[in-house]
């Protein structure tokens, strides 16, 4: 009995540790995105938790007449400037000189439990803004900077992602049904092509496809990205949906055929409604894939800033404001909101899709 308890403690303990390890990076980002920018650059995000630190409790400003080149008596302590500057500890308090010899004061600090919990939405407002944005800081000053225009990036991401999810699914569903239930010569050969294309790295097709788009003057438009994502997503979509649709019971189709229904009718009236779970699984898969994609957007949407999606905006921010963590954290978290919502609300379908989609042939 005792070993069982120990065992469970060991299992749950190590599991908790791993989960903590896995979650901390994202958690730190989330916390930081709400912190004041001065706090972000001066203290770690973990300072929002209660911790012990030296806190200033009193400022003693010596009169201008006090001679700073001989021992001074301040706050009941007599010491030289050099000693004060190095810091003196007495009765659990720290006396330290701030500033230079002529202009400065003695700071009395106590070691206390504190937590930095000034949170703000200014970081988010700035990354969403287009044009300049004047952020109000906790210390009362303001900071004017170029906004990162993540708001329009969000809209562009939606515009890219929704069609790039629906179009391949529509095409693939028809194809999957065709390969599974419509008899025609060369069916197996053509489906083998789909299976073969499953693992093709998209880099091999990227450049000629880009040349196609340039020739059609489509480079930089949403259209180009949809077509690219449709092409790159089709093999997996067709393969997944084929696996599902080909497993549907044969009697369903035979009964319908006897009744004189065409393939088109069978597909739209029977197969599509029956395939909703598989369609949903792939839809989530493709949605997350496209939303999170960077390379395809980078190549086909390019530098034209007005059509850039969230991942591009975020990557640009890393390039030009790599140390401005108040912007990076807020922008990064903003770009994750939609996938996280999709993920948490539809996790079951997503997992099902993963299980079906792992390329085992």
């Amino acid at each position: 009995m005792k070993s069982k308890l120990l065992n469970s403690l060991l299992v749950n303990g190590s599991l908790a540790l791993i989960c903590l390890l896995w979650t901390i990076p994202t958690f730190g980002l989330l916390i930081s995105s709400f912190r004041d920018r001065i706090d972000i650059s001066n203290t770690g995000w973990w300072d929002v938790f209660p911790h012990q630190d030296w806190v200033s409790v009193q400022k003693i400003v010596p009169a201008p007449t006090v001679d700073r080149y001989s021992p001074m008596t301040l706050g009941g302590i007599t010491a030289t400037f050099e000693q004060f500057e190095a810091g003196i500890s007495k009765d659990g308090k720290k006396y330290i000189w701030i500033g230079n010899r002529r202009i400065g004061y003695l700071d009395v600090e106590e070691y206390k439990w504190i937590s930095d919990t000034t949170f703000t939405l200014e970081n988010y407002k700035q990354v969403l803004a287009s044009g300049t944005y004047t952020a109000k800081l906790a210390n009362g000053t303001t900071d004017t900077n170029q906004g990162s225009d993540m708001a329009s990036g969000f809209l562009n991401s939606l515009a890219v992602t929704i069609p790039a999810t629906v179009i391949p699914i529509a095409i693939a569903a028809f194809a999957a049904y065709g390969f599974a239930w419509v008899k025609f010569p060369g069916r197996k050969m053509l489906f083998a092509l789909v299976v073969g294309l499953l693992v093709v790295p998209l880099q091999i097709a990227l450049i000629p496809l880009l040349q196609n788009f340039v020739a059609l003057h489509l480079n930089g438009t949403f259209l180009a990205v949809w077509m690219a994502h449709t092409g790159f997503g089709l093999p997996l979509a067709t393969y997944l949906l084929f696996n599902y649709i080909s497993e549907l019971p044969r009697d369903v189709f035979e009964a319908a055929h006897v009744d004189g229904a065409s393939h088109f009718k069978i597909f739209t009236r029977l197969v599509l409604p029956l395939s909703v779970p598989a369609l949903a699984s792939f839809a989530i898969f493709q949605f997350l894939w496209v939303w999170n994609d960077y390379l395809v957007a980078l190549v086909f949407l390019g530098g034209g800033s007005q059509n850039q999606v969230l991942t591009q905006r975020l990557a640009n921010l890393v390039g030009s404001f790599g140390q401005n963590w108040e912007l990076l954290t807020a922008a990064a978290f903003f770009s994750m909101i939609v996938p996280l919502i999709v993920f948490f609300s539809l996790q079951r379908y997503f997992v099902r899709g993963l299980l079906a989609g792992s390329v085992k042939g």
Binding site: V11, N12, A175, Q211, F222, A315, A332, P339, V342, Q347
Partner: protein, 370 residues
């Protein structure tokens, strides 16, 4: 129309067939018009509000494809029985095959050809690009890095995924724990790059460290703050690989978890009754049973890792000796305008996945034969 009607295919029948093409042709015209419209709107100096373009684009893109299938079917319904049988497969698999050919097959062939031509794809240069790719010291470093990614990225991910799956299987908190591990899968590699750049953040030595890793390193181990992704090459690659492991472990865990649950409980119970301890059960029963899944997971991660781009590009830009095939491909093509070398790199990438491709096709052929 039914077969009896089509047998008496008269002039009227032919006209009906011709008329049935009208919706399809209209749809195609609508699609082409939409393409021009979106193209010109996105290029114009004074475009419509972005929201309006997006709305139109959405309706056009999604509606157009559905309309295409429906109007195509109208034509088929008017065709005589025999022609309809022949046309049906075209309606179903035609668009997909067309798209695959246009977006993947032909481009692959063109890249293959371009890899034997010079940087502007004008003059034939034979194997020159490949010789560069396999002898240039910079390229060799790229291959070394990719190898590090392949080996350690895959091994760490598989081990972590397996460990978590086994632990979660025996815990009461299985579902929340798995969600937490799985969560990074919803995050983009760019986002993950930012998250981990923040963990690795380096401030000047005398300033307080705001990056978690440096804060721990300085605070607990009294080390000196490091640029984890920039110094100590090639070890910096491992700090990038961590990001991939963090992101992909959820995937491995889900598949392993399902496989472990698929092991019949009696077998595990029997082994335990016979006195095997948990570690023996794991190594002599679980591992062999889920070997197939381990291979599947490893293959998927290997293929994914081969093309890794975003995370390196965002975190180091491929500098500091951290370039991989994906970033080098991009750099050769877009930064140096080396069309031929870029293509050759893509072809090398393609060749490395051919064994997996062949394996998949074999499996498919075997299943079809059953």
């Amino acid at each position: 129309m039914t077969a009896s009607n089509s047998k008496r295919a008269t002039g009227l029948g032919i006209i009906r067939i011709l008329i049935s093409f009208v919706p399809l042709i209209l749809t195609i015209l609508l699609l082409v018009w939409g393409m021009f419209f979106i193209r010109s709107e996105q290029a114009s100096k004074t475009p419509l509000p972005q929201t309006v373009i997006v709305a139109i684009a959405l309706i056009w893109g999604v509606g157009g494809i559905v309309l295409l299938f429906f109007t195509g079917n109208i034509v088929i319904e008017q065709l005589p029985e025999k022609s309809a049988r022949r046309a049906e497969p075209i309606l179903f698999v035609g668009p997909a095959l067309l798209m695959l050919t246009w977006a993947l097959v032909i481009p692959t062939i063109r890249t293959l050809i371009a890899s034997f031509y010079d940087q502007i794809s004008k003059n034939f240069v034979g194997w020159k690009n490949y010789i560069y790719v396999f002898t240039n010291p910079n390229m060799l470093e790229v291959f070394r890095n990719n190898l590090l990614w392949l080996i350690f990225g895959t091994v760490f991910t598989v081990i972590a995924g397996l460990l978590i799956a086994v632990l979660a299987d025996r815990s009461k908190f299985e579902s929340p724990a798995k969600s937490m591990i799985f969560l990074p899968m919803a995050i983009s590699f760019v986002g993950a790059g930012v998250i981990w750049n923040f963990v690795y953040a380096l401030r000047p030595v005398d300033a307080p460290q705001i990056g978690l890793l440096n804060a721990i390193y300085v605070g607990l181990f009294h080390g000196q703050a490091q640029g984890w992704t920039t110094s100590y090459q090639p070890w910096n690659n491992f700090f990038l690989i961590v990001v991939e492991v963090w992101l992909q472990t959820g995937f491995a865990m889900v598949l392993f978890s399902a496989a472990i649950k698929g092991i019949p409980a009696e077998i595990l119970e029997a082994a335990r009754v016979d006195g095997a301890n948990e570690i023996q059960v794991f190594f002599s029963i679980m591992l062999p049973t889920i070997a197939g899944t381990i291979i599947t997971v490893s293959t998927t991660i290997v293929i994914f890792t081969l093309k890794i781009f975003d995370v390196v590009w965002v975190m180091t830009g491929g500098n500091f000796g951290s370039s991989v095939i994906g970033t080098e491909f991009y750099r050769q093509y877009f930064t140096y305008n080396q069309n031929g070398i870029g293509s050759a790199i893509a072809v090398v990438l393609f060749i490395t996945v051919i064994p997996v491709m062949v394996y998949n096709l074999r499996q498919f052929a075997r299943r079809e034969a059953l």
